[in-house]
Amino acid sequence: MTLNSESVIVNVGPQHPSTHGVMRLRVAFDGELVTDAEMVIGYLHRGSEKLAEERTFTQVVTLTDRMDYVASMTNNQAYILAVEKLAGIEPTPRGVWLRMISAELQRIVSHLVAVGFLLQDLGAMGTPLMYTMREREDVLDLFELLCGARITNSYHRPSGVFQDAPDEFWPRLELFMANMPGRIDEYEQLISGNEIILSRMRGVGVIQPDMMINASITGPMLRAGGVDWDLRHRQPYEYYDRVQFDRPIMDESDNYSRYLVRVYEMRESLKILRQCIDQIEPGPARDADVPFVIRPPEGDAYVPIEGPKGELGFYLVSDGGISPYRCKVRPPSLINLTLLREMVIGLPMAAMIVTFGTVDINMGEVDR
């Protein structure tokens, strides 16, 4: 006997713990399986791009913090690089090293949050998230030493960073770097070989690499599909051409490899941090001659960087005034969702949530 079933439309979110913020998925189910999905976003839209047009170039830094709020430092970095290119400002060497140190610490934080919440999506309520949050806390303490703020840092400035790291920052950073490898080992022991994790994540949410390239998907997601594309390596910005690191590339392009790439990248970030500490030189953390109010010449500039979630960049247009004429963000979180529908069709509800989790999005950046 065959049963004729009618598909049921379910709203997942916007207030749902596994939607990573305020995102609504309208999903059509046939029994337990997804037959169609549409995302409804905009609940966190604050009009950051419009607000930027009414602030000076330096003030806009505070808006960038609030886009991807678990990776403020890399947002600061992407924005400042575009301003420096637009205005032709040369950063000080120490400023660049400090920006790289803060950005790599931020990458570790972002991946910790991604892994922690992914495990929560898998049903491991609480415990793994508490582990990753414990490490995140250490980094946030470091950020507090650097700039006084933990989340909305606004640390970077045109020509460097707004203040040098205090003396007590360096021993604390060493302590963190001594502890972190063991803690990543801990995750690997607990998570990477776990049978439940393997059976639920291997071979699920597979997406072809050429489709991802065509859909502008970047970052760990693309590298988990076997594409060797890391802007720190392919289009080096700051001093990334002076540090050596490996690029974890996986071929499976499934949920498990997307998770694993992030874990491996944390180790690579530690390697980069070590080389930054070895190479940083004394000197001013920013050029005191660069004024607070900048008037870049007419023109436009776009500098892409490898953010924790993918290619991140700001397209700035200047009309010669004190604020950007147009400030457009390239949001990896939003663009990585382009193929979400294709990824989740045919999956059960629980696997859909996990697949969504491995894309690693941040709603502050999706909606801006």
């Binding site: 905009g42 859909a215 502008s216 594309w229 289009q235 776009y302 457009k328 939003l334």
Partner: protein, 148 residues
């Protein structure tokens, strides 16, 4: 290290695809006509010498007397970047350009966002509706004449 293709190089390459397509070029960008865009976009992706597989960023800018759509393209295999711009909506009248979604799927959400916030139409987009704001919202906030 990736090489950004200069506007002159891109203009030359595009003239070979369609001799009437290019209207102007600067140091780092090339301007093409809206009508030539679907064909030019496909060739930019497929021609062996160019291979721009990824449309990394689509932006719209309101220049008061006209609008501009800016395409940042990346070739992963050649490790090159290029910038193509399209002038549209002269005199602020109904700005529209043909969609690039059939060439680059990555244009999907970006074109919807551009339509939502800037009011530039992308002809041929299969799902041209607002992305961030709700249906029924009046106006396009990123336009320079949007009243607060």
């Amino acid at each position: 290290m990736s090489v950004a293709m200069s506007g002159a190089e891109l203009a030359e390459a595009i003239r070979e695809i369609d001799s009437d397509a290019v209207t102007d070029h600067s140091d780092d960008a090339v301007w093409v006509t809206p009508s030539s865009w679907p064909d030019v976009a496909e060739k930019l992706r497929d021609l062996e010498a160019l291979r721009f597989e990824m449309l990394t960023l689509l932006t719209t800018v309101d220049y008061v007397d006209h609008f501009e759509v800016v395409y940042h393209l990346v070739s992963l295999s050649r490790n090159r970047t290029g910038v193509v711009k399209i002038r549209c909506g002269e005199g602020r009248v109904s700005p529209s350009v043909p969609t690039a979604i059939n060439v680059w799927r990555g244009a999907d959400l970006q074109e919807r966002e551009a339509y939502d916030l800037m009011g530039v139409n992308f002809d041929g987009h299969p799902n041209m509706k607002r992305l961030m704001l709700w249906e029924g919202f009046e106006g396009h906030p990123l336009r320079k004449d949007y009243l607060r």
